[in-house]
């Protein structure tokens, strides 16, 4: 019968019944909650961990922290003067409601005052980022040598020209054109230390499909073991060779001064 039709009853009389109802109700409620919980959990775990072509705004915390902190409000989106950012929709691969941009469509113009970071109410975009050239939104990768015009020996290099951090984040490295034998090739070369991942290069690549692409840092950035030392760097730091020169020591006298 309708809950609505119930007339007031003496609570004492109802105790036994209502306890039983309470227990079955609770069990069912807990069951549904468990179902929903595991459902959501597996949805989150099986979803693409990092949206491949959805690049996070400047200053975004590492993806795990970002997903815990971004409240999906879109204030960053609103503050962007170039309409670069948008929020992921239900049907898109990213986590629904979180901000991203697609470099090929509208790249980040690297505003000096970084309004998107300032607008973020939670700090999912880190206010520690005050110099936009220190941003690490992603990393440009020249992913296809066969179609890049400069690799074919032409002088396109639009990606290089448009880079806001030109000559630091991207350089043209000269090498010999083996096909003609007598020309140089100017190879666009990205330097991960300085690339901000703004996507200007990907956007302006003249090919039908860009040969240079922004990808998530966690996916493409290499990392050397902590114990690796670059001899030439250490040498410069020390201002002298790291080991005493051994070549002018007489053979067979290791470690002993003659």
């Amino acid at each position: 019968m309708d809950e609505a039709k119930r007339k007031p009853v003496n609570p004492e009389e109802q105790k036994g019944v209502s306890r039983r109802v309470f227990i079955t109700d609770s069990a069912r409620g807990a069951g549904v909650a468990l179902l929903v919980g595991t459902g959501l959990w597996s949805k989150a775990e099986t979803a693409h961990p990092i949206p491949l072509r959805e690049i996070r705004p400047p200053g975004a915390l590492p993806e795990d922290d970002f997903l815990g902190r971004c409240i999906r409000c879109g204030l960053c989106v609103r503050s962007c003067p170039y309409d670069t950012l948008r929020l992921s929709r239900v049907e898109e691969p990213g986590v629904v409601g979180t901000p991203f941009f697609k470099a090929r469509e509208i790249p980040c113009e690297m505003c000096e005052d970084i309004p998107c970071v300032k607008a973020c109410p939670t700090g999912a975009l880190d206010k520690e980022l005050t110099d936009i050239e220190k941003a690490k939104m992603g990393l440009a990768v020249l992913s296809d040598h066969e179609t890049c015009l400069n690799y074919l020996g032409l002088r396109c290099e639009v990606c290089y020209r448009v880079c806001p951090v030109i000559d630091k984040a991207i350089t043209l490295e000269r090498s010999q054109n083996r096909r003609t034998g007598s020309h140089a090739m100017f190879i666009p070369t990205v330097h991960s230390e300085h690339c901000t991942g703004c996507g200007k290069c990907e956007q302006s690549c003249v090919l039908t499909e860009a040969a240079i692409n922004i990808l998530p840092i966690s996916l493409v950035k290499g990392e050397m073991g902590k114990h690796y030392k670059l001899g030439w760097v250490e040498k410069e730091k020390k201002g002298a060779p790291l080991v005493p020169s051994i070549l002018n020591k007489p053979l067979g006298q290791w470690g002993k001064d003659p």
Binding site: D2, V32, G37, G74, R86, V96
Partner: protein
Amino acid sequence: MKMGTLAKGSGVGKAARETKGWYLAHKWLLLRRFSQVLTIGLFLLGPLAGVWFIEGNLNASLILDKVPLTDPFLALQVWMSGREMESQAVIGLGIVLGFYLLVGGRVFCSWVCPINIVTDGAAWLRRFLGLPKGVGLSRNTRYWILAAVFVLPAIGGQLYWELINPVSIVHRGLIFGFGLSWVVVVMVFLFDLLVSSDGWCGRICPMGAMYSLLTPASRLRVSAVKRQQCNDCLDCFKVCPEPHVINPALKGEELGLGPNILNINCTNCGRCIDVCAPNVFEFAINFSDNSRIKL
């Protein structure tokens, strides 16, 4: 599934319409729809007309570039995930909490939430078609789900409910681009229509459950002030999305219960006031000495 006669539900509120006139029999409903549309419209003024009164969405927003608002349901999940929020979000949280503590938590549901329009629609159609109640999910299920929503971020560090939360998906969709969000709308509508009466808002939605917990301190309550004049037409029970809340106030006189609807799940929607021909109910700000200011 057994179908009732077609005209079964359409008589609800007829007596009120005839005695009070159409407008007074829909007064609070109209005000509520106005408020809900305003909640969406004000956010749309920016992108559509370039008037940036309020930016963001229901999860967090900024009024006139100054006053922040943060949804407590979201903020609590962020905290449960072990992350901090910056001061802007925390101040916004304080403002929103203060507001709902004052007017009653589930005022969010009936006056602000966009999904309420969908579930109200389903409830109306269900009454009109005289459909049976459907699956008897307990109304406490939502509190279990609420517990899951807050425990999950503590374990996995993400805001899991946001992956499916129809409230934020729909509100955000309306403002930032709808895409396939309509699927969510249709699912909630069909769930309420065919699976369980008052199913989403009354039994599942953990957001409404959380807001209900903000209600106890509120002084703004619906009161069955003229309960002696109740003629047992049951129209209020039929339109109320949480009918169990009415009984103690309306019929509890002999048990010594006061006329105020105190149950935390009364959404302060005022629909019971509308449909009652003898005007039993009214909105009132109630004081501890039993005096009240009628709205």
